[in-house]
């Protein structure tokens, strides 16, 4: 026991058994989104309501396509961790874990659909 560091003895404790990894993950993705979201607003927003040919030509360019793909990828990852906390706070009993699993599937599904669509337009 004397050979264990304080850090080692704390590992795996706490209600989630994860330490601060969830919080740190949200910090990383939020900083990324701080840059991505404004870029996405002004690229995606410009094309909303535009003719189909213009939209396809615009998202075939590298910058708008990469911004859109990264925003959806990081955004849905940030969402999946955020909605998990929402469910953990308000849903009790047997529905909690199925709901978290459902929202993880929705998040990955939506992100994959978006990435597929952007790739198809861009390539």
């Amino acid at each position: 026991m004397a050979f264990l560091t304080d850090r080692k003895r704390a590992t795996g404790l706490g209600s989630a058994k994860q330490g601060t990894s969830h919080h740190w993950h949200m910090t990383i993705t939020s900083v990324a989104l701080l840059i991505l979201v404004p870029l996405f607003i002004f690229t995606f927003g410009r094309m909303l309501g535009a003719p189909h040919a213009d939209v396809v030509a615009y998202f075939a360019r590298p910058f708008p396509a990469i911004v859109a793909a990264l925003t959806l990828l990081v955004g849905f990852d940030h969402f999946r961790h955020g909605v998990q906390v929402l469910i953990e706070d308000y849903v009790h009993g047997p529905m909690r874990k199925p709901l978290i699993l459902l929202m993880i599937c929705v998040s990955y599904g939506a992100a994959a659909t978006g990435l597929f669509a952007i790739a198809k337009i861009a390539l």
Partner: protein, 127 residues
């Protein structure tokens, strides 16, 4: 949880009997905007999918998203996006251990509310 007798001791105030304050309202709004953004995000994904599929499918989806109801959802999502972004910025600042005094936290709260409305208006004017 087992219904144990907790005695007749005072309990800490909770949402139902707690007077709403700027700090609590802005915090709750952060959660609401973040989670409600799912709707706008799914609409954006649908829009991309339609654009990747065919011009006629794109016209349908784009028409739906730019209808008056779609515009309303997108305007709300735009504000929610700016609000959640500014509020997240506030959390990153708090994470450094600064700005946690009540007067500062309230000032930051007003900055988030006013800032999100201003940024929404600026975005609508530019786009």
């Amino acid at each position: 949880m087992a219904d144990v007798n907790r005695g007749n001791r005072p309990l800490s105030p909770h949402l139902t009997i707690y007077r709403p304050q700027l700090t609590s309202v802005t915090s709750i709004l952060t959660r609401i905007t973040g989670n409600a953004l799912l709707l706008g995000a799914l609409l954006a994904v649908w829009w991309f999918l339609a654009a990747a599929t065919s011009p006629s499918y794109f016209e349908t989806v784009d028409g739906l998203i730019t209808s008056w109801l779609g515009d309303l959802v997108m305007l709300g999502s735009l504000w929610a996006l700016w609000y959640h972004l500014l509020s997240g910025l506030r959390h990153l600042y708090w994470d450094t251990g600064r700005g946690l005094e009540v007067p500062t936290a309230e000032k930051l709260g007003w900055a988030v509310i006013i800032g999100s409305v201003v940024l929404t208006l600026v975005t609508v004017i530019i786009l």
